[in-house]
Symmetry: C2
DNA sequence: CCCGGAACATAACCTAGTTAAAAGTAATCC
DNA sequence: GGATTACTTTTAACTAGGTTATGTTCCGGG
């Protein structure tokens, strides 16, 4: 069930039938993983990469004092660590935030597919570059946006990325995160996340309750977030 | 003069004589650019990528209120926008922070070289993945580190990256940045950068004066930064 | 040698977000 | 159906870093 991944790739560039076949051949197995399990530990040597099929994953780093920063959230159809194919050791860990279904791509298969299909190699490269663009947007959020604008921006980003794989629409999306998880994404405390969510609700922009984000005013939300979806690269370019 | 770039690549993986020749053939010209000029504007269509030969460049984004966030600093030997080869439009701008010498690599040449040398293609991919790792470290800094630890971490990172190309040693390095530039890197105000620099100086860790970073206590600096150079991928891995 | 402009420095005050503690809600399990 | 556990909400005191303002130092140009 890697349909979400194909959908995501095709939102960026065309994928031929032969290439689709090659992509399907990347995966050796699928695994189910319970919530809150670290599936990749920073620094360990890798010979596989993981595609998220169902659930939510995150990349994170911890500091000595126990505080944690999430650097990216992954939605179905995302490769959580395709960059591990070239890096071989990650600078961050990857954990499940919900129960997850994960497809495993051994590096030797990625090696074979990218050698035989240079166009796919470029497309894979592109997707890791989009991850970097997401990181840059988070750098901007953490460095310069206020808590409310930061939170609004995250909801806009997730809505857009989930919509590509059919998991969100104008009205909202399911999001099985705790307020603590959100705090670890946004460089805030859970307490302040709670206050910020209240303010977003009271301003009639968005509601986050019982694992669902309900968008009340998408235009208003984008306005206070200064959200420009360009960085997600969702309009295919001639390449 | 792309020797710095070759040095940087060879710090990560071996580069054959033929590959070196191919890399040299990437560049069509060199340009001198004065300080404080935006050389690439977010959103414009690209058909070249820029390698920094001399000087300092940064990637940045602005918000409507005029505040600016730098997402990465570039030192000699860095490609400022190799990711533009796959993205074709950048989500950020790139500007000079000092007078710079820049080498121009047209995308059609990158296309030709990566097609003929799949190993170089993987190496280029790797370098953009290291940029992403640097972004993640900044996300951690901005989200969770205190101002002093954040600043210490930046100095550690720059020292390491400049050392690879022979521009820094244990004792320090030249850094022609203003305190305002530093503030735009660190998500702080220039005033607080000034306070933080004073504290680093008073604690006997680093001194930043007249465009030079003098390291007084590297071990102490790394300690308060919780600096682990692993993310810069400076120990070649079998690939 | 003085002027103008940029960068650096420092002080006084302000605020967004933190910390800590306690209580409320809601699923889940035996 | 009551206990357990996880998550959310609220409050109040506190602090890191922001804001504003004023001075100083440095440097190149006329």
């Amino acid at each position: 069930m890697i349909e979400a991944y194909l959908r995501k790739l095709r939102a960026r560039d065309s994928v031929s039938a032969g290439e689709e076949e090659a992509i399907r051949s990347l995966f050796s197995e699928e695994r189910d993983v319970p919530s809150d399990k670290t599936v990749i530990r920073a620094g360990e040597r890798l010979n596989i990469s993981l595609l998220l099929v169902e659930g939510l994953l995150c990349r994170y780093k911890d500091l000595r004092d126990g505080s944690r920063q999430i650097s990216e959230l992954h939605v179905p159809g995302d490769f959580a660590d395709l960059h591990g194919f070239t890096l071989k050791r990650l600078d961050h860990s990857v954990m499940t935030l919900t129960r997850c279904r994960i497809a495993v791509a051994p590096h030797d298969r990625i090696q074979a597919v990218t050698t035989e299909h240079p166009h796919l190699a470029r497309l894979f490269w592109l997707t890791t570059n989009i991850d970097a663009a997401i990181h840059r947007e988070w750098v901007l959020s953490l460095g310069r946006r206020s808590a409310i604008s930061r939170m609004a921006h995250l909801f806009c980003e997730l809505r857009e990325r989930l919509a590509v794989v059919g998991l969100a629409d104008e009205s909202g999306f399911a999001l099985a995160l705790t307020q603590t998880d959100l705090a670890e994404c946004m460089g805030l405390t859970a307490v302040h996340v709670n206050r910020t969510l209240r303010e977003l609700r009271e301003r009639g922009l968005v509601e986050f309750r019982s694992r669902r984000v309900t968008i009340l005013d998408l235009a208003g939300l984008r306005r206070i977030a200064e959200f420009d979806p360009g960085y997600l690269n969702l309009e295919p370019e001639p390449r």
